[in-house]
């Protein structure tokens, strides 16, 4: 018997006797479940992972060797989440978590200072290949992807700077599904950007409703895992490391910002870097818009 350590509030609400689903995909540190009926993706994550929307962190170091496969049945019985006979997770002890984005400060002097270091750090330690251009792309495909990402993230950024609303949805949708990785770089960038749009008092919060309308048109453009993450971000729900980083860059010291940034950069392969650049893009827009 394995215990769930902590879970996202919404997920814990869903885990009742009527919950059923199938295993969608299995990785070393994460296992995705597609719920029946609602077609939503939920994630079981090992201790190595941070808290995130729709995610339950369980007391295991690895999901290897459990023999869990795609399409295995998932059900709930007596407060236990079951995956066939292979994994049994006790829910009651799980502590609850919900993403709380910080408030955007009235005075952004600290943000401006932290921003310089953070950008330098990403420049130095961020992973290329996605939004961050690789010095030497391994293929024409990668080069072309980089070019398109560059072009389209710039268009979206300028749209926000000009405070225009008409093209936002189209430009955002143009990024979805673009780029390497399980969560394509374009998606990751949007996750970062959406998070900033959802900060309370964010100068660019006028785009909030547009995030939600973007979600309605993009489902076929990306895979279910990435879509779920994007959808949550469109409602202001992102994983803990992103939350912490935003808090640190707005209110923390440079050292704290870099520490928190390291954790974001560690997400996936290039995903963390792409998310971080989405965050930076949103924050830069905020600085400019906020005067």
């Amino acid at each position: 018997m394995i215990h769930a350590k902590l879970g996202d509030d919404y997920f814990l609400q869903q885990i009742v006797a009527t919950f059923t689903g199938t295993v969608h995909s299995v990785f070393k540190h994460a296992l995705n479940i597609r719920s029946d009926g609602k077609d939503e993706i939920f994630t079981l994550a090992t201790k190595a992972m941070d808290r995130a929307p729709n995610t339950l962190v369980i007391d295991l170091d690895t999901l290897d060797h459990l023999g869990i496969q795609q399409h295995d049945r998932v059900s709930v019985r007596h407060n236990e989440l079951l995956i066939e006979e292979k994994l049994k997770i006790a829910i009651p002890k799980a502590s609850r978590w919900q993403c709380q984005l910080p408030i955007y400060p009235a005075n952004c002097t600290r943000l401006k200072m932290n921003m310089i270091r953070v950008k330098q750090f990403i420049d130095l330690h961020g992973k290329g290949g996605g939004i961050k251009r690789n010095d030497s792309p391994v293929s024409e495909f990668e080069a072309e992807t980089s070019r398109l990402l560059q072009q389209r993230t710039t268009l979206l950024y300028e749209e926000i700077l000009n405070q225009r609303l008409d093209r936002f949805q189209a430009y955002a949708a143009d990024l979805v599904g673009l780029g390497p990785g399980l969560t394509p770089s374009g998606d990751d960038f949007l996750v970062g950007l959406f998070a900033i749009i959802h900060l309370q008092n964010s100068p660019c919060s006028m785009y909030k409703p547009l995030c939600e309308s973007v979600i309605k048109v993009i489902q076929p453009l990306t895979n279910e895992i990435s879509f779920t993450t994007l959808k949550k971000a469109a409602y202001g729900q992102v994983r803990e490391s992103i939350c912490s980083f935003i808090h640190a860059i707005l209110y923390g010291t440079e050292v704290e910002s870099i520490e928190a940034l390291r954790k974001v950069l560690a997400i996936g392969s290039s995903s963390g870097t792409d998310i971080a650049l989405g965050l930076i893009s949103g924050l830069e827009a905020n600085i400019k818009l906020g005067g």
Binding site: H24, F141, N223, E254, I258
Partner: protein, 517 residues
């Protein structure tokens, strides 16, 4: 041109695997281009743009994994695809392998085919054997351990030279290879300046100054302190220079060392003459004329070395903050010191930092004692008791015997500091604080209570105690330099902006009368 496309329905690999598979797939022999990615509309658009669209790709959906392999000749396609497929299958194996623990370099090198480097820091008595094993397995070596005989060093370096490998050390504490800092190193910008150094803290100092002046580093190759001795003959420095000369990214080369033995200096100078790239030479206390005659750029101080390097590297001089010495401050301190407060006491973790301050002091002051003095007349009689001007390297064997290096455990000099602070003949205490990989997480913090106590004590006795602190580090280090400096300044310590300035400030503050600058 020939293309093979395979679409795997509803197949998900995590991003880390996908990216590394993609990189590896593009390195397979015969492959002109390989794409492994999710079949999203956007990615398909990119594929169309690069002219690889096929009907199969057209049909892929966002949840499908696409594998596209392009080769020049049709007969290579199938085998290239199989090799890519192999990567996908072996992914699981590779993951399982990560759990395996290795006990020997042989087994690790066999089990990790991508391994290309060994960092060895075991006791010197065993280090030679491990280093040899590493070289035999075609691994570049950084040998942190000391207490290795010179014969063994020559043997290892000869083997490495024959195999075309790096043999950094023994007693090599600092290197930056491919932007990865090894052992004691600082987080510095990537750039176009390459360093070869026989001195650990010396090279840290130069790299940090280069970063501060807006420049950046390609590689920092450590050679170990004995490389430029007659016996070793500068093998690693000469090979390192050659490698940097051949390295496209490197535009300027900086050499850092104590002065080489005469025959070795000849060899190094001859190679500088041949070198197609500008070479800045910082041989602490070395001979300017010979370097200049060989076409090298001589630097007297670490700061000058860094400045010359960044200018040669194309950084605009106008934009550099050269951090000039604060002369008014010097005057102010002189006025505060009582006549009997004549002496400097330097308490250092970094050997080269100690050396640099000491050499600067020796230019204008007499009777300078140290535990690392070359001149036996000025070696401290008792390393625990200071004499007149005293400069102590706490990293020297005298103090480390069995204890961790003061950069890891800086607390070792606290007691000595308090002892010096109580000495009424002391005017200035100068100390270094080294940040970066390998170092203590808060070197200023551990010293702070002692500093505050000392200041109070001196005040009570009615004298001014001048403490100069130099923090070796960058804004990218953890903890970062600003945070550490802030702590020092808050405690009333005079912050020196470089190792060179720390030495100059200390010297100038205790100078009296006609020697004033």
């Amino acid at each position: 041109m020939s293309i093979k496309v395979v679409i795997k329905r509803n197949t998900y690999f995590d991003s880390v695997s996908l990216m590394s598979l993609s990189t590896k797939a593009n390195q397979i022999e015969g492959v002109e281009q390989a794409i492994i990615g999710m079949g999203t509309e956007m990615n398909k658009g990119v594929i169309r743009n690069v002219g690889l669209m096929t009907p199969e790709v057209e049909e892929a959906t966002a949840g499908d994994l696409m594998i596209i392999v392009k080769t020049a000749n049709a007969d290579q396609t199938e085998s290239a695809y199989l090799a890519v497929e192999e990567l996908l299958i072996n992914k699981d194996k590779a993951q399982a392998k990560s759990d395996i623990k290795y006990a020997t370099i042989d087994s690790a090198a066999q089990g990790i085919p991508d391994a290309n480097f060994a960092v060895i820091s075991v006791n010197g008595a065993f280090a030679v054997r491990e280093a040899r094993k590493a070289l035999e397995n075609d691994l570049h070596v950084m040998l942190f351990s000391d207490n290795v005989s010179v014969e063994d060093e020559v043997e290892l370096k000869t083997l490495a030279h024959e195999k075309g490998l790096l043999m950094m050390g023994p007693d090599c504490g600092t290197a930056i290879i491919g932007n990865t800092g090894l052992c004691f190193a600082n987080a510095v910008r990537k750039g176009n300046i390459g360093i070869v150094a026989a001195s650990g803290t010396g090279s840290q100092e130069v790299s940090v100054r280069i970063h501060d002046f807006g420049g950046g580093i390609t590689q920092l190759i450590g050679t170990g302190g004995r490389d430029l001795s007659k016996e070793v003959g500068g093998m690693m420095m000469l090979d390192g220079m050659k490698a940097l000369e051949a390295d496209e990214a490197t535009k300027v080369i900086v050499l850092v060392s104590k002065p080489p033995e005469a025959s070795v200096e000849k060899k190094v100078l001859a190679q500088i003459k041949e070198c197609s790239k500008p070479v800045v030479v910082y041989f602490i206390g070395g001979n300017e004329e010979a370097v200049v005659a060989a076409g090298g750029q001589f630097a007297k101080t670490s700061k000058e070395a860094a400045l010359k390097a960044v200018l040669l590297a194309g950084i605009d001089e106008a934009g550099i903050n050269k951090r000039a010495l604060n002369i008014p401050l010097v005057e102010e301190v002189r006025a505060k010191l009582a006549p009997e407060q004549k002496y400097i006491r330097g308490l250092f973790c970094g050997g080269t930092l100690c050396d640099e301050s000491m050499y600067l002091a020796m230019e204008k002051l007499d009777n300078i004692y140290s535990n690392i003095q070359k001149n036996p007349d000025f070696l401290l009689k008792d390393i625990n008791v200071s004499q007149e001007h005293t400069f102590i390297d706490f990293g020297d064997d005298d103090f480390t015997n069995g204890k961790p290096h003061p950069m890891i455990d800086p607390s070792s000099r606290i007691e000595r500091f308090l002892q010096e602070a109580k000495d009424p003949t002391v005017g200035v205490i100068v100390m270094d604080f080294v940040l970066g990989f390998g170092s203590h997480e808060d070197p200023v913090g551990v010293m702070l209570p002692a500093i505050i106590e000392a200041k109070k004590f001196a005040e009570k006795e009615g004298r001014h105690l001048e403490i100069i602190g130099y923090v070796l580090g960058t804004d990218l280090d953890t903890p970062n330099i600003d945070e550490q400096v802030e702590k020092l300044v808050d405690a009333g310590v005079t912050h020196a902006s470089s190792s060179t300035n720390a030495g100059l400030l200390a010297r100038e503050m205790v100078l009296k009368g006609e020697n004033h600058e």
